[in-house]
């Protein structure tokens, strides 16, 4: 009992410190590292709640792939310069955000505590958690029988995401600087681009090639 409490308190502290660090870090790289801290804290809480498979997937996918993607983008684009946190483009936005945050926390916490009291315990709508099998087996049984259609649709979604990312981020064919073959009819056509660290080709916008 005491171990559970200590684990929860430590994990909660790690999560909250990481979250505050993400929001208030000036350097985006620091924000990404604080996000990793939060994700590990959440994984620990998943383990504490007997969701072992999700804890492993959380570490592998979230902390191991998504945050790495963030860091790749930050490093490749060289945008790790500190942001000026002092300027406020919209007047009064920061105090309004603070008020909204406090009100939301209060409201959500109230709802959460009330929800635990009124949980009717509609037990086992799909499958009981502790069906005597391991967490992975119970999860797999539900995923591949009741939710198999959604599972297949998510695989299609992943393919769409990969194709979309490749199309959006690919470098278009470099054109000779003296002969711009594309007409300047597209609105979002940049003229010159200084070196962006990855090449010295002048490039046009990809939309003009796709049109």
């Amino acid at each position: 009992m005491i171990v559970d409490t200590v684990v929860f308190v430590v994990a909660a502290l790690v999560i909250l410190i990481g979250a505050v660090g993400v929001v208030f870090s000036r350097n985006p790289v620091h924000s990404a590292l604080m996000l990793v801290m939060t994700l590990f804290g959440v994984a620990v809480l998943f383990v504490a709640e007997d969701a072992h498979f999700l804890a492993a997937v959380q570490v592998i996918v979230y902390a191991g792939a998504i945050v790495v993607l963030f860091l790749f983008v930050i490093m490749l684009l060289g945008v790790d310069t500190a942001e000026n946190l002092a300027t406020e483009p919209l007047g009064g936005q920061r105090p309004a955000a603070g008020v909204v945050a406090v009100a939301s926390v209060g409201l959500l916490a109230l709802l959460a505590v009330r929800a635990v009291e009124v949980s009717t315990g509609a037990q086992s709508v799909t499958a009981p958690l502790d069906g005597g099998q391991s967490n992975v087996a119970v999860l797999a049984e539900a995923l591949f029988t009741d939710y198999v259609f959604a599972f297949e649709v998510t695989s299609v979604l992943l393919v769409i995401a990969v194709v979309g990312a490749v199309v959006m981020a690919r470098r278009p064919r470099s054109q000779s600087s003296s002969d711009p073959t594309e007409p300047e009819s597209d609105d979002d056509q940049p003229t010159t681009e200084p070196t962006d660290g990855l090449g010295v080709e002048r490039h046009t916008e990809t939309e003009s090639e796709l049109a």
Partner: protein
């Protein structure tokens, strides 16, 4: 003192509002994206907690799908951010205010 289930939900609520507040305050698109990830994690934590309270595995299945969709969303969103920041490395969320770019 045993850990009450509602503590997890309150922690999820706190994490969600920290992410939401960060999304409102920050202007760097990458950090805003990270705040969205914070909110998704809060929701995941809440789902798993309710799955345990109600003794139903459906909550964990939902978290599985949320993880998959979050990964796809990050891929596409970072593609967009790369496309924007490649042209204007100092762009903030306020600068991308017109569809013309």
């Amino acid at each position: 003192m045993a850990v009450d289930q509602s503590w997890y939900l309150v922690l999820g609520a706190l994490l969600f509002t920290i992410g939401a507040g960060g999304l409102l305050i920050r202007r760097n698109p990458l950090v805003m994206f990270m705040c969205v990830e914070l909110m998704l994690n809060a929701v995941n934590l809440t789902f798993v907690t309710f799955s345990r309270i109600l003794n139903d595995v459906a909550g964990q299945v939902v978290v599985f799908f949320v993880l998959v969709v979050a990964a796809a969303e990050v891929v596409v969103g970072l593609g967009i951010i790369v496309a924007i920041l490649r042209r204007r490395p100092t762009a903030t969320a306020d600068d991308v205010s017109m569809l013309r770019g």
